[in-house]
């Protein structure tokens, strides 16, 4: 089985994002970028399935500017066999990402697609579900554990009340949650090796996909900041404040 994994270049999780001063978007100039953390988990899961003999090939796909090649090289340094960059400098929203991935799935015929459950930049949490819908495949979102059989996939999912287990017909789309695995650190020799792995570049128009945005950003603003609080000396003062000042207990 071939596994396709989608990886997004996103703001580093340690960076606090700020809107541009004119409100036209988010300030990303000179901001550290990394692979979306959930996508690292997705790649790691694909590698573990390959190591367990359940998958033959891992294809990493990224969509965006030329710099997404770095993200693909990271994926390949972790263990992906090859990469495809769908290169564009236009804004690509989740529905368009799903359509681009659908076009690549039709071409590459993977038995499983794994994505992160959400990207920590736009926090949409949509692409995997949209892709599964477009393909008419089963979806295993917010996955905490996968058990891949020959025709089916058992997925344990993180849901509001705890965990839910579903059986999905393969091929299927899975989105990775935090507890699926702990991604490995990339070793230096693997970074060198990854530079030699094949990386193809295609464009949205070559894939025949219209990526025009459906959502228009009217304004990006900073949320109202919380007023600074006070330090209390001890629990007596805390309880007094909560009872008499905040009146919440």
């Amino acid at each position: 089985m071939k596994i396709l994994v989608a990886v997004k270049r996103a703001i580093d999780y340690n960076v606090k994002a700020r809107p541009k001063s004119d409100g036209s978007g988010v300030e990303l100039a000179n901001v550290k970028m990394s692979m979306n953390p959930f996508d690292e988990i997705a790649i790691e899961e694909a590698i573990r399935l390959q190591e367990a003999g359940k998958a033959q090939e891992i294809l990493a796909v990224s969509i965006g500017s030329a710099q997404c090649q770095e993200t693909l090289r990271t994926a390949m340094a972790m263990g992906a066999d090859r990469g495809i960059l769908v290169q564009t400098d236009e804004e690509v929203q989740p529905l368009a990402v799903a359509k681009l991935l659908q076009a690549l799935v039709n071409k590459e015929q993977p038995g499983l697609v794994i994505l992160g459950k959400q990207a920590i930049d736009d926090d949409s949490n949509q692409t995997g579900q949209m892709l599964a819908g477009l393909l008419g495949w089963a979806q295993g979102t917010f996955a905490a554990k996968l058990d891949v059989q020959s025709e089916t996939l058992e997925v344990k999912r993180e849901v509001d009340g705890g965990l839910q287990t579903l059986s999905l017909k393969l091929p299927a789309v899975v989105t990775a949650d935090l507890r699926l695995n702990e991604p490995r650190y990339v070793k230096l020799p693997n970074i060198m090796k990854a530079k030699k792995k094949p990386l193809d570049i295609v464009t949205p128009s070559e894939l025949g996909v219209d990526i025009s945005p459906r959502l228009k950003l009217v304004k990006a603003a900073e949320p109202a900041a919380r007023a600074g609080g006070v330090k209390v000396a001890d629990v007596q003062e805390l309880v007094a404040k909560l009872r008499n000042e905040a009146k919440v207990i």
Binding site: K16, A17, R18, V26, I120, A132, E158, V159, E222
Partner: protein, 310 residues
């Protein structure tokens, strides 16, 4: 054209997150509710009482019992022709199904809206809530998930909507429910609690989490946790509050042994009053806390329980 809200339920009870979604939908026009489930007449009856609901659509079939997106999405798509807006609470079920519906309709989704500006423009948090994006949709149908903390729930009673049965679609045969392990607790649910006590890595172990639970019980509170505490295995995943866990906004949020990473703050910074107890006075949690107590949680929390019990 009106709005269709997909009810969140367990075939027995209407989840109150649905009331927040109805509140958002009410700002957009008339509101119908879809109850898709199995032997879920009681849920439809409850939905019919919800204030401001015009009509309840009831689709009852075995393959809707667990809200499987592969079966539910085509049903909603079939009903969508009559509506300008489709909404669902941004619960794990809502987040699972709505993007599939949107893709099948070839429309964008607006995730986690916290405010309605006009019928096509909404506010939603991005970048862990550090930026609020005002977003306009050009699609005919707006597919929306509603962040429950952004909208006060409508009243659960007082309405008298008609219940209309809709014929179920086929079982897509792509997925099946195998089982679930739900966390059993006599405490309030995180999403609905007035007071939440959360523990972080500072708590140190699963055994030590008893101290958090004891404080929660003293306050009649729900128990939450930071990602670090969940990752360390102190508590189950459904306790997690944060950007990628649950987003809560209780009257009082008590953060114990939580440093205050960006992703945790994203899940609780809209709480009315925040209390932080942490031994590190430089911890970022103190920047959002109304009341900060610097000290060892193993000393301060028992003292707090004592003081509250007096």
């Amino acid at each position: 054209m009106g709005a269709l809200v997909i009810a969140e339920h367990n075939n027995v009870m209407l989840n109150i997150a649905t009331l927040n979604a109805v509140a958002a939908a009410s700002k957009l026009g008339s509101v119908d509710i879809l109850v898709a489930g199995h032997e879920c007449q009681a849920v439809a009856d409850a939905a019919a009482q919800v204030m401001g609901v015009s009509k309840v659509l009831l689709a009852d079939a075995g393959h809707y019992a667990h809200g499987l997106a592969e079966n539910l999405a085509p049903l909603v798509v079939q009903l969508a022709a009559g509506y300008s807006h489709l909404l669902v609470a941004a619960t794990s079920n809502g987040k699972n199904v709505m993007p599939r519906i949107a893709a099948l309709l070839d429309v964008a989704q607006l995730s986690d809206i916290i405010s309605v500006v006009s019928e096509d423009t909404f506010v939603r948090p991005i970048y862990a809530g550090n930026v609020l994006a005002t977003v306009q949709s050009i699609d005919r149908v707006k597919a929306i998930t509603v962040r429950t903390t952004g909208f006060d729930p409508v009243a659960a009673t007082g309405g008298s909507a008609a219940i209309e049965k809709v014929p179920p679609g086929p079982d897509a045969g792509l997925s099946s429910f195998k089982g679930e392990e739900l966390t059993k607790s006599s405490r309030p649910e995180l999403a609905a609690a007035d007071i939440i006590v959360s523990g972080g890595r500072g708590v140190g172990s699963a055994e030590n989490f008893a101290i958090i639970e004891k404080l929660a019980d003293t306050l009649g509170a729900a128990v939450g946790a930071s990602r670090a505490a969940v990752d360390a295995g102190y508590v189950p995943n459904d306790y997690q509050v944060g950007q990628t866990g649950k987003v809560v906004a209780p009257q009082l949020y008590v953060a114990v042994g939580i440093s205050g990473a960006i992703q945790h703050l994203a899940g609780m910074k809209d709480s009315k009053v925040i209390v932080a107890i942490n031994k590190d006075e430089e911890a970022p949690i103190f920047q959002v806390a109304d009341y900060g107590l610097v000290g060892d949680l193993f000393k301060e929390v028992p003292a707090l329980i004592d003081a509250l019990s007096k």
